[in-house]
């Protein structure tokens, strides 16, 4: 689909058709993002589908996904653009050998103008998103991993959709990208950045919603089994764990159960397969103790 969506319901249905079931506010904010052309800051615990939302949006809108994975120490050269200095060096050397006959000064001026042209510019994700002829979906993943200086650099891009390159001047966006920033909330982002974004808080989905998600990904799984699985995952999330299971992990678990051809989740099966959703040694103990025991008691009751 190429044109812009016209209603929230359309976005919700569209995202659903590409395999992402949005919550109430998710569809609304996605719609607003496309409509207002504002970046969206998506926050929430790990594994609730923040990155997945961007992927689904790009599939739904029929746009290319440009992804910038943030990490500590990410700088402009890796995010925006870089001069291809090897190529520049080559150009200078080539110019030097060619220019034997011509007067030295002319050669130098030509080279000087030449080596700071677009030919020698290495585009990094942000530049790619801005300069693309087709509209794209730009995903800036885990923005909280970078330092504040980098955030400040993003401000120009996010509010005006332009990048200033000292040697070339200003590069303005030819098309309007949909921008998603995700954050695990490991540090408070600056007010300035937040002010430029729409805000979406994604949390673990409620039982019915997660059941729908699991069923969407694995239509072959029995309804009753899926329900039990989601119920258990919810119980596990209630516990005090180092790493609560994400949505992707409940889908993985469902897939594992399907492969094993399980009919019902009993205590033994749970013990054998729970490493799919629980991935910490102490967590394993806690879960086995709390949830495993409950499963054993369940048939007796």
């Amino acid at each position: 689909m190429a044109e812009e969506p016209t209603s929230v319901q359309e976005v919700a249905a569209g995202l659903g058709s590409v395999g992402y079931l949005p919550g109430e506010s998710t569809a609304l904010v996605a719609f607003l993002a496309a409509k207002l052309g504002k970046p969206v800051l998506v926050e929430g615990p790990a594994g609730v589908g923040k990155t997945e939302l961007a992927k689904a949006l790009s599939r739904f809108l029929g746009r290319r996904l440009v992804r910038l994975q943030c990490y500590e120490g990410l700088d402009e050269a890796k995010a925006l653009y870089e001069w291809n200095y090897r190529k520049q060096l080559l150009r200078i050397q080539a110019g030097a050998s060619d220019g034997e006959s011509s007067p030295r000064t002319n050669g130098w001026e030509a080279v000087q103008d030449d080596i700071f042209g677009e030919e020698f510019l290495l585009e990094r994700p942000l530049m790619t998103a801005i300069a693309s002829a087709e509209p794209v979906v730009l995903l800036i993943d885990e923005i909280d991993k970078t330092d504040q200086e980098f955030e400040a650099m993003l401000l120009e891009l996010l509010s005006d959709f332009q990048i200033s390159v000292p040697e070339l001047g200003r590069i303005e966006a030819r098309t309007h990208p949909v921008v998603l920033l995700t954050s695990n909330n490991t540090r408070e982002l600056t007010e300035a950045l937040k002010r430029r974004c729409l805000y979406l808080w994604l949390d673990y989905p409620d039982l019915e919603h997660e059941l729908e998600i699991v069923r969407l990904h694995l239509p072959d799984l029995q309804e009753s089994l899926a329900r039990k699985l989601v119920e258990i995952v919810h119980q596990v999330r209630e516990l005090d764990l180092k790493k609560p299971p994400s949505i992707a992990e409940s889908i993985d678990w469902a897939r594992a159960l399907l492969l094993l051809g399980a009919e019902d989740i009993d205590a033994t099966l749970f013990r054998e397969t729970m490493s799919v959703i629980v991935k910490h040694r102490t967590d394993l103990d806690v879960v086995a103790e709390r949830v495993g025991v409950k499963l054993e008691q369940a048939p007796a009751a």
Partner: protein, 467 residues
């Protein structure tokens, strides 16, 4: 295609009360007064967004405003509370202005209501978590049990009706089996029901008096974590997990500004091979966050129990952020409990083990700070050095015993830094038998009874030592 330009000089919003724009502006004012920073650009965004989203669906309307205005989970919590309060009041004010009144529910709906049956139905609906029915049920309950005009104090009326309905969180085994109240009501459901009751009572009150009562500012408790800090340790841990990840970046950030990064010659030389031996790119040594060595002294007498369990649990969850952490508990005597907290992951069990084994209460069970300082200094004197940090958690209430601040001063002098966390609000400091001022001259004293205050403190803790 350039980004679509917003009309900058549009028409001024209509500020008259009751108009759409006016109400929305008043709402943002209200949010600001509760401490949510709402920028002008965000208000513009909200208006812009509302042009695209139907504002007649209350869910959409609310989410749209939230997406454009409330930009952190904390803000969102306040936003929801203020949203409820504001639009409830706005609707009521409008109703009073237009003299609309709700059809009276209490004018006997075709005879007597079966009170016992009503009790059972309400309990059942609460148990099932049928949210949409809550409001109707609250009205019925008021009609049936809220006789007369009430006491005039909403809280009292709410509790009176709740008691009349026999709704309790604890199990009531005397009830017949099959009664939904027998195993106790879910706490959260009950809280919601009480909220509905309060709203309906308030509505009725406004209708009777045809005036809005003064608005109640959000209390600190409303904003704080739901359920209170100690009731739900899993919630505490989630907060702590957050805190921990923040700390991981916090240390770096401060050090980055404060101290020069050192150039890593080896890595720089290696990188320069790519550019024919010209060191185009400088490589720096990674910065390591400060990992202080910490001694925690924690008062576990009854006056501060809840706060100390909370605090110890937080510190131990932060264990890997600190190089070395030793904890002590004290009442009249002092005792080391580092091992207990390392073994026990469940803090309820840990707290029980501490109170059982530590043997810190002698006779009276009242805190004796003077004695504790002396014992601590004897035990640990040789291990204190300028890079260690001592944290005391206590209310500094000596129960009339000598505070012995000179011993505390000796500890503070030996240690690099000394902090005092007081779980009492600053308002109560130095009242009664609190002698915090005597100790505060030797250390930095913080009040610490909310998670954000705790975060402030942990930030201070991981900052490089002050001069």
């Amino acid at each position: 295609m350039p980004p679509p330009q917003k009309p900058i000089y549009g028409t001024l919003p209509d500020k008259a009360p009751g108009s759409f724009d006016g109400e929305l502006l008043a709402f943002t004012e209200d949010l600001r007064s509760e401490g949510v920073a709402v920028g002008t650009s965000e208000i513009l965004d909200a208006f812009e967004a509302l042009r695209h989203v139907g504002w007649f669906d209350s869910q959409d309307f609310r989410e749209t405003l939230a997406a454009t205005i409330a930009k952190s989970p904390d803000d969102r919590r306040v936003f929801d509370l203020v949203f409820e309060r504001f639009f409830f009041r706005a609707a009521e004010a409008q109703a009073v202005r237009l003299e609309v009144s709700e059809p009276q529910a209490r004018a006997g709906e075709g005879g007597e209501v079966d009170l016992d049956e009503l009790r059972r139905q309400i309990a059942q609906a609460l148990q099932d978590g049928a949210e949409s029915e809550l409001r109707d049920l609250a009205r019925l309950a008021i009609a049936a049990f809220g006789k007369g005009d009430g006491s005039g104090v909403l809280g009292v009326d709410v509790q009176r009706i709740r008691r009349a309905l026999g709704l309790r969180t604890e199990p009531q085994p005397e009830l017949p089996p099959g009664d939904p109240r027998r195993n106790g009501m879910p706490r959260e459901q009950l809280r919601q029901f009480e909220q509905q009751l309060r709203r309906e009572l308030e509505r009725a009150l406004i209708e009777r008096t045809a005036a809005l009562p003064p608005k109640r500012p959000l209390s600190e408790l409303d904003r704080a974590l739901s359920g209170g800090p100690v009731q739900d340790l899993a919630a505490v841990h989630r907060v702590v997990a957050q805190l921990k990840r923040r700390l991981a970046t916090q240390g770096h950030e401060v050090r980055g500004r404060k101290r020069h990064a050192h150039v890593d010659m080896r890595a720089t030389m290696r990188a320069s091979l790519q550019t024919g031996g010209v060191p185009v790119e400088l490589k720096y040594r990674p910065k390591r966050p400060r990992r202080p060595e910490i001694f925690v002294l924690c008062d576990v007498s009854t006056s501060v129990t809840s706060a100390s369990t909370f605090f110890l649990s937080v510190l131990h969850a932060l264990h890997d952020t600190f190089r070395k952490l030793r904890s002590f508990v004290f009442i009249e005597r002092i005792s080391e409990v580092t091992g207990v907290f390392e073994r026990e992951r469940d803090f309820r069990a840990a707290a029980a083990a501490v109170s059982r084994d530590a043997g810190v209460a002698d006779v009276s069970g009242y805190t004796d700070y003077g004695r504790v300082w002396t014992e601590f200094l004897e035990m640990i004197e040789d291990e204190l050095h300028p890079r260690s940090t001592v944290i005391v958690l206590g209310d500094a209430r000596t129960n009339g015993r000598p505070p012995r601040e000179e011993v505390f001063a000796a500890i503070a002098a030996k240690a690099g830094r000394t902090f005092w966390l007081n779980p009492e609000p600053r308002l109560y400091w130095n009242y009664g038998d609190s002698v915090i001022a005597a100790y505060a001259q030797y250390c930095q004293a913080f009040e610490c009874w909310r998670t954000d205050q705790l975060e402030e403190f942990v930030k201070a803790l991981t900052k490089p030592a002050a001069v």
